[in-house]
Amino acid sequence: MTAAADVGGAVADAHRREWAVVLAATVRVARDLDLAEECVQEAYAAALSAWEREGVPDNPAAWLTTAAKRRAMDVIRREQTFRSKLPLLVEPEETVDELALDEVGGQKEEQVANLESVVPDERLRLVFTCCHPALAQEAQLALTLRLVCGLSTPDVARALLVSEQTMAARITRAKKKISAARIPYRVPRPAELPYRLTAVLGVIHLLFTAGHTAPSGSALMRTDLADRALHLARVLRDLMPDEPEVRGLLALILVTDARRGTRTGADGRLLRLEEQDRAVWDRAALAEAHELIVAGLRGGRAGRYLLQAAIASLYAEASTYEETDWPQIVALYDRLLSLWPSPVVALNRTVPVSMAHGPAVALAQVEALEQDGRLSRYQYLPAIKADLLWRLGRTDEAAAAYRQALELTSNEAEHAFLTARLRMSIGS
């Protein structure tokens, strides 16, 4: 007998860490996402009492996978005629092999060995299916949290700030499309890989950004979401270690996340980079990111995530804000802008430009972007403009720009920050 609390902890731990592994392996047998999910959920529930009786197994993932697959096979046998009408989600020959092996094999060691040799690939299939470009991006985000991270639908709804009902409908619709349109359960061929990988990286990055700067609400960060994104980025790096942008994304998340604890003060107030306590930054995360970035830049073909990571890392490396290597950061932004000509990148570039070449030069560039109009709803444009005007001593115009930025933000921490800056600029 194992204490109930220990077992509960072991099951929760296996849920957090192994959900994707277990589900991905079960989908191959179930050939259907809903059935696979159901069976995996049941396997986790069964683990609670079984592990209390027999002790926590050495390899919880293998135990759970075997239990979930067995349930799936039972259902399939029972509903043979019905299931055979469903589209095959998985290439048939592989499913047959898998079933055959399970039925003859039976020995635990063999199954564990088999599991370990096929598992990495299985999780990748799951990730690529969830992030298939035939699904809307909001559906990709929801499915990734639901299927790859194993979050419940209410948790996914809370994380992505929509009602539970809306989220349930969104997930149901996405799963229905996967099955009706036969979105295949596989890793894309090499020719499609760059395009498909971009979608996967985009989803992970969006999850991280959503967690890092919650678009509304009082907590600046929904740390759980950021943690999930970091975990996904690590899993992807383990699964595709040779993809430069996979390493780039992990590095970017690590660098950004290393400052997590210092982005707000004790009172929840937003702190600017120059006000943050650099001593508290997570040095281990920064060092890990640094290694990824150096290796990536050396390998050439730096993509947008790697370049963003390199920029963030340069900011973090300086011992004080003033000692930041501004010209080098501007140079990295130039490279980033050439492969990703986005007005947001151009706007962010004006900050190091203001440090390297002065606020007047930067202000001219911000005003050009304002004319362009594509960032008219983007609160950081008037916020950056206000700061530049303030530094140039044009306080009235700075106050007007702060007011404009305030109108566009719904995050309470950012709102408080901008209000304080506005008060400063009008000298009250």
């Binding site: 589209p87 298939h132 349109a181 036969r182 979105i183």
Partner: protein
């Protein structure tokens, strides 16, 4: 194998296909027939020949008033969506920058489509 409808959309204001474009469409159709993927295909007359019915009301023109209109439809067979998209991507309508295609799984048909 599954069946997909490829709905071909074209710019409502565009001229008819040029002889070159017609030849390219024909070659694409022949490729689909040759590979065994083609089930059936129809090209439609231009949308200004369309007549729409909504309740009791008869109107001149396509059902949905938009910049792009259905110009043809083709039913293909493919193992999964990726394979269907691969075939759809080769459709000349996707390449010319004056329209595109929508790929939709077929739910059923009369006479029953071979499955």
């Amino acid at each position: 194998m599954a069946q997909y409808a490829i709905l071909i959309f074209d710019d409502a204001a565009a001229d008819d296909y040029t002889p070159d474009q017609q030849a390219a469409s024909k070659r694409h159709a022949d490729d689909l027939i040759g590979s065994g993927a083609m089930i059936t295909a129809y090209a439609l007359q231009s949308a200004d020949t369309a007549t729409s019915l909504r309740g009791d009301v008869v109107t001149d023109g396509p059902f949905i008033d938009s910049k792009e209109v259905v110009a043809g439809v083709c039913i293909i067979e493919a193992p999964d969506l990726d394979a269907a998209l691969e075939l759809a991507r080769r459709n000349p309508a996707v390449q010319w920058g004056r329209g595109g295609v929508e790929v939709r799984p077929v739910a059923g048909g009369i006479p029953p489509l071979a499955g």
